[in-house]
Symmetry: C2
């Protein structure tokens, strides 16, 4: 809907970097405490040179067992995964892993808030999409359903996230609409 | 108080490993969803050998900006740091960092639950110690106060955590007493 807006949002920062910058702003402004979880790494060999910092010489990337971000907002546990797609018409479920679905389902069972932040790069739009909507399509694909979430569904069931200079992915306002 | 109990709890597992095993049990039993955050690592060089996994060839340990563990329990955001001490009579505040204190204070301001899990190895005892008690001593040390929390204070203001075979550090029961 904002075809001719100036391209502030696309200065070479990834969605995750934009969210981390937003989290830093939220922390300083007293809005929320949310952090990105570090990339899990299996460390095999470490050198301890004299008079300088330990150097990891051999390590491997591990599969994350959870999602990208979690924290506390207005007294609630929040947990989300950030995903970008170049697809114009739908969000392919191949972007998500079963263990992320399992994690988000467990969060909701325990009274937390789980969602995706989805960026459609062709539209330069970012949405907060509640986990229940993701589950519907995720579970449906194993019963003969489609393997992606239509853009139109994300547009209607998600909340469009505004871009602000300080809160580049200002998702807290979307959470207010969805959950508070 | 349990001087002659059999030494089940000390089979070479660290406090963090015992807590992670407990979290796995809590997850499977539907009690809570809590995970250890991965150790943050600054990756400098990665090799991508043909037909095998990427190898991290140079990386450095980074200072964590938060605490060890967080998650959701009974709808509440919980966040804690695990610390062991060999000290018999007090918990030295040098085990804690200012950024961990800042993080725990922010959590509480936003309605989350923050605490330490402290193990006194000489007593083979583990306690849940609410963050406000830690803050009292932390802030006090800059006003001429002592630089440690007396064992007796931890024993009185904290909750002793029972050892169970499956829930090796069964901290959820302590949270029930303190916060629910
Ligand atoms: Mg992601
Ligand atoms: Mg620790």
């Amino acid at each position: 809907p904002q075809k001719n807006k100036p391209d502030f949002s696309n200065r070479g920062m990834t969605l995750e970097e934009d969210i981390s910058a937003t989290n830093q702003f939220y922390l300083e402004a007293g809005i929320a405490v949310v952090h990105k979880k570090p990339t899990p790494v299996q460390i095999v060999q470490v050198d301890y040179p004299k008079r300088s910092a330990a150097v990891i010489k051999e390590a491997y990337f591990k599969q994350a067992s959870t999602t990208d971000f979690n924290g506390v907002y207005q007294g609630k546990y929040i947990d989300f995964e950030a995903k970008e797609t170049k697809n114009k018409t739908s969000f392919p479920l191949s972007n998500i892993h079963q263990h992320q679905i399992d994690h988000m389902k467990a969060i909701i069972e325990h009274g937390g808030i789980a969602f995706l932040i989805v960026k459609f790069t062709p539209h330069d739009e970012v949405y907060v999409l509640p986990a229940h909507c993701v589950f519907e399509y995720w579970d449906g694909q194993f019963k003969g359903g489609r393997k992606s979430i239509p853009y139109q569904v994300v547009h209607e069931e998600g909340i469009l996230v505004p871009f602000h200079f300080q809160a580049r992915v200002d998702y807290a306002k979307a959470l207010d609409k969805l959950y508070f």
